[in-house]
Amino acid sequence: MATYSTNEFRAGLKIIVDNDPWSIVENEFVKPGKGQAFNRVRIRNLKTGRVIERTIRSGDVFEAADIVERELQYLYQDGDTWNFMDAGSFEQYIAGKEAMIDAEQWLKGQELCTVMFYNNVPLNVQPPNFVVLKIVETDPGVRGDTSGGGGKPAKLETGAVVRVPLFVQTDELVKVDTRSSAYVSRVKE
């Protein structure tokens, strides 16, 4: 497996630390004039998303994390597995529940997702930034009722719940930003 020394550190580089894959977020070279040089890094755990700070002696070497990202089309769910396909090669891949944490509630079928593979196993699935889904359940929402902070909860066809404006009704299509779970707009059929 490839290795990287601290000299090659840059944002986005993916390395193994304590047996997990991490992406370097920030890298700072620190050195007292006549002493040990260090790299102070902020790294994000690609399994959990947690960001931590670490100090590394300059010159230390790390194993590269075998991370590959693929654009795959979501096909269907079968119990605790989600099936994806590479539209170019028709190769199929299966993601488990852990990898679907960010995406599960937004997908109904056919969406193009970014799937991060670690050692050839799907680690994390990112849904498209925006999805259009139908509201299956929401209160009518009385005009002037600001008790809910100016919006109301709405359940979407995939099970996701988002806050929508009071004028939006059941059976309407809405565009949602999956990164923030925020309502963007209504969509005409």
Binding site: N7, V17, E28, F29, V30, K31, P32, G33, K34, G35, Q36, A37, F38, R40, I52, E53, R54, T55, I56, R57, S58, D60
Partner: protein, 324 residues
């Protein structure tokens, strides 16, 4: 399309840089200190395991040989001192491989000067005076002086001269500093605590002079054994958390210098570092007699960057390494 052809410093700062070079020359001319510009290229290299020299090759008449770019003009300047040059300064490029970051560039400018007959306190005062002339905004308050030990006690709560490895490790952990690899070397933990916990506190609002380094960090300074613990007659000047200058009461004992070179060569070997041919001309100069003197090397680019408040060295260099 790339903008990397452009300088990394803006033109206003380059004009300020030029003005500073003239001011430095005026400062030293007024004090009777002679400007020298010794070679950058030498057959010897720095033996300090923490420094990496650029290596190159001479291939002309006289025979091909490996040679090195200096990490500081120190060795040539000491030879000048031993030859009777008197107080001297050099404004010169220095080269350090493997050092690039917010406050480092592999090629940088050092202002280095030597004062025969000065005490360390007198040299520290002269350094503060010079900064006051070039960058008055950095010396609005009187400079403070702090020993290495006092700084550790104040900001880390431990005595750096006596704390054992376990204590140093625990102190780092208590401050959420996690060092990957956990080496069994006291010096690494001291450097870790210094850079992470202490340096950011130094030089805030006023210049800070850090003095009395541990004896094993003496480099080319004399060691004073008068106090409870032997300490190096060495100081560092800080402004705004950035290390600006390193000063020594210079070692004049040729045998001790040779011994230190050997220790460093062994350390280099143990760390798997390339051999660094030591400077025998320096040893010969010391044997001939180096006058009692104090010397200091100041990072000219860093001082300029701090005075101009540009937050990174690259903005004080005409072209930082990525544009060369």
């Amino acid at each position: 399309m790339t903008v990397l052809w452009r300088p990394s410093a803006d033109l206003a700062l380059l004009r300020q840089r030029a003005a500073w070079l003239a001011q430095v020359r005026g400062f030293f001319a007024g004090r009777g200190v002679l400007e020298v510009d010794p070679p950058i290229l030498a057959r010897s290299a720095s033996t300090d395991p923490a420094l990496a020299c650029f290596v190159t090759r001479y291939t002309g008449p006289g025979g091909a040989e490996t040679c090195y770019l200096h990490t500081s003009p120190e060795f040539f300047m000491k030879r000048l001192l031993a030859a009777g040059a008197g107080p001297i300064y050099a404004l010169t490029k220095a080269f350090r491989d493997g050092e690039w970051g917010r406050w480092h560039n592999p090629e940088f400018t050092l202002l280095e000067w030597y004062r025969p007959g000065f005490s360390l306190a007198e040299l520290m005062q002269e350094a503060v005076d010079l900064v006051g002339v070039l960058a008055p905004s950095l010396v609005r308050e009187p400079a403070e002086t702090l020993t290495y030990q006092e700084a550790f006690i104040r900001w880390v709560g431990i005595d750096p001269h006596t704390a054992d490895l376990a204590t140093l490790r625990a102190a780092a952990l208590a401050r959420q500093i996690v060092l990957v690899g956990a080496p069994e070397v006291r010096r690494v933990w001291l450097d870790l605590l210094l850079t992470h916990c202490i340096e950011p506190q130094l030089g805030q609002g006023r210049l800070t002079l850090l003095t009395e380094y541990p004896a094993d960090q003496a480099a080319l300074a004399q060691v004073c054994s008068a106090g409870p613990v032997p300490v190096a007659e060495r100081f560092e000047l800080y402004s705004q958390g950035v290390e600006l200058a390193n000063g020594f009461h210079e070692l004049t004992d040729a045998a001790e210098q040779a011994r230190r070179f050997s220790v460093e060569q062994r350390q280099r070997h143990m760390l798997g570092l390339p051999a660094a041919p030591e400077d025998r001309h320096l040893l010969a100069a010391l044997a001939a007699g180096l006058p009692d003197c104090c010397g200091i090397a100041l990072g000219f680019d860093r001082l300029l960057a701090l005075a101009a408040d540009v937050q990174a060295l690259a903005a004080a260099l005409s072209f930082s390494w990525d544009r060369c």
